[in-house]
């Protein structure tokens, strides 16, 4: 028995290592070839260059798409986090009818196929007179990111000790004042974490933005328009690498804030 275990253990860790290569190969490929002094992605590498990155700064359409994405990301993250903050507090603190149904419902956007969300929202928005625009994308992205906001805020509130709220109320603080001066500061890192995660999801989202952007593309929609042209490939690689770095940076920040929020809430 022991022998069999020992034989299986190293092969399992070898498999895990190979699997990690499989997971990271496409992610690391973009930065690797973005510094390559050639226009095709193939071995051998031909030389080191920064020129593709420098070429990016001259693209005006890119800058515009970047600003659009930043705007959409911030606005939709704010909307989703506000909704998530209130809902998570309700789920974590109160027992009420239909709580489980409503907890399940807010998670629904995670599992609906993207094309169905995208097509049905396009139809809905045009029906109520909202033309494809950044506003439409913001509403759509807020819908997609609500599940992330709710689950992050729920973990922030789960760790939150309600007795400090009760103490504030007993000491004569009003309900609104307690929320602003006690609850909000404690869950603030959770809010930041939720904002960052929602922003990242929105910043990277393509299909919905593709359907709902009129003549104002977001960054992924801009990239989509670029990847058909082989001549633009090195620029796209450089841009993609910047985005990868940016996403990972935001997530590291989100994780730091999330950990801080769970530490604070327990009063340790």
């Amino acid at each position: 028995m022991k022998v069999a275990l020992k034989r299986i253990a190293p092969s399992l860790s070898t498999y895990a290592a190979v699997y990690l290569v499989f997971l990271y190969l496409p992610v690391l490929l973009l930065p690797l070839f973005s510094f390559n002094d050639g226009t095709i992605v193939a071995f051998p590498l031909s030389g080191f260059t920064f020129k593709w990155y420098l070429a990016l700064s001259g693209e005006e359409a890119l800058l515009r798409a970047l600003l659009n994405s930043l705007f959409v990301g911030i606005a939709s993250a704010t909307l989703a986090t506000s909704l998530g903050l209130l809902a998570a507090r309700a789920f974590a603190r109160y027992r009420f009818p239909l709580r489980h149904a409503s907890e399940g419902l807010v998670m629904l956007p995670l599992v609906v196929p993207g094309i169905i969300v995208a097509s049905s929202m396009l139809v809905l928005f045009l029906f109520i007179g909202l033309k494809p625009s950044l506003a439409a994308i913001i509403l759509g992205h807020a819908f997609l990111t609500v599940p992330f906001a709710v689950s992050i805020m729920k973990s922030a509130f789960d760790e939150f000790d309600p007795s400090i709220e009760e103490a504030a109320l007993d000491l004569g603080e009003s309900v609104a004042g307690t929320f602003r001066r006690v609850t909000l500061p404690v869950v603030a890192p959770g809010i930041l974490s939720s904002m960052l995660v929602c922003f990242t999801v929105s910043f990277d989202e393509f299909v919905l933005a593709f359907f709902l952007s009129g003549n104002e593309p977001t960054l992924p929609v801009y990239i989509w328009s670029q990847i058909r042209f082989p001549a633009k490939l090195p620029n796209t690689l450089a841009l993609g690498s910047c985005l990868l770095a940016f996403s990972i940076l935001l997530l590291v920040l989100a994780e730091i804030f999330r950990r801080r929020s769970t530490k604070r809430g327990t009063g340790k």
């Binding site: 399992l12 895990a16 992610v27 193939a42 709580r99 629904l108 196929p113 993207g114 393509f206």
Partner: protein
């Protein structure tokens, strides 16, 4: 009594905005899609006389049927591939790895980077003049580039199995973590071999995690747009590509709405059938 009622009303009031927002954006578009599916496109205008012609067309058109069946087939293959590849990793992290949190972090980081870029990256890896071919040629393993890597079902399944990996690993990992380890010791004491232990304890107890992983992957992949569009070629096209065409170039929204609804219904049907079979299998797996 007063406290109870205030708790109820507070809970409902606080959760209402998110619930109503999500509920509205699920229900309202669905209602309008249903309405559209009974209308017809008359060049630039919409004819609102109710008709079943879209359904008649969609259900009888060989292309629609072909794409729908192929979407389900590819999503099914991808689900199996992802779960089979992911199970050993989840097992490794839960049972063997020393730094579990680090491993979980490593698994989830790629998921947070742009989906579009990851799919695009696979296209670069698998392409005719791409990374894989050039690497194999410079290693001397092949003389001619392999043409079968990109633009087919295989490329779609591989790319999707990569994209959805954490969604398979995490539920299986959670079910492994929840498993009572003393059962394994008991099995060993009673003379089970390693394989028997796995087959009769670990596998049945992690079955719910596997089922959850299957559904989490299958449902969204049926409707994936980016992967078939970028790496699928003509052989790997899926139903979502046809739906997009109806809302875009073909400008036939009623048909697009009908296709969306049919796709949704098929996904629901297959998922329900799968759950039913899974429940049956669960009875016999022990």
């Amino acid at each position: 009594m007063f406290r109870l009622r205030s708790e109820t009303s507070r809970g409902m009031a606080l959760s209402a905005p998110a619930t109503l927002y999500v509920g509205f954006l699920v229900a309202a578009p669905l209602g309008i899609l249903v309405a559209y599916s009974f209308w017809t496109q008359n060049y630039v205008s919409i004819d609102r006389t109710p008709t079943l012609s879209n359904y008649g067309f969609a259900l009888n058109d060989p292309l629609v049927r072909h794409l729908l069946l192929k979407s389900i087939w590819i999503a099914g293959l991808c689900t199996i591939a992802t779960v089979v590849l992911a199970y050993p990793i989840a097992y490794f992290i839960a049972m063997r790895a020393r730094r579990k949190t680090l491993w979980l972090l490593l698994i989830t980081i790629p998921f947070w980077t742009s989906y579009l870029l990851r799919v695009f990256s696979w296209k670069l890896i698998l392409g005719f003049k791409g990374l894989m071919n050039s690497a194999l040629i410079s290693l001397g393993a092949i003389d001619q580039p392999l043409a079968f890597l990109l633009y087919n079902e295989f490329a779609v399944v591989l790319t999707l199995a990569h994209a959805w990996a954490p969604f398979a690993i995490l539920p299986i990992y959670v079910s492994l973590q929840k498993m009572d380890r003393s059962l394994l010791e008991a099995a060993t004491d009673l003379g089970c071999t390693g394989f028997q232990r796995f087959r009769r304890i670990t596998l049945p107890l992690t079955f719910p995690g596997v089922i959850a992983a299957c559904l989490i992957i299958f449902i969204p992949t049926v409707g994936d747009y980016v992967t078939p569009a970028l790496v699928g070629g003509s052989e790997g096209k899926m139903i979502s590509n046809l739906i997009q065409v109806q809302f875009g170039a073909a400008n036939n929204w009623p048909l697009g709405a009908t296709l969306s609804l049919i796709a949704m219904a098929s996904v629901g049907l297959v998922a329900t059938g799968f759950l039913f079979l899974a429940n049956l299998a669960r009875g016999t797996i022990r």
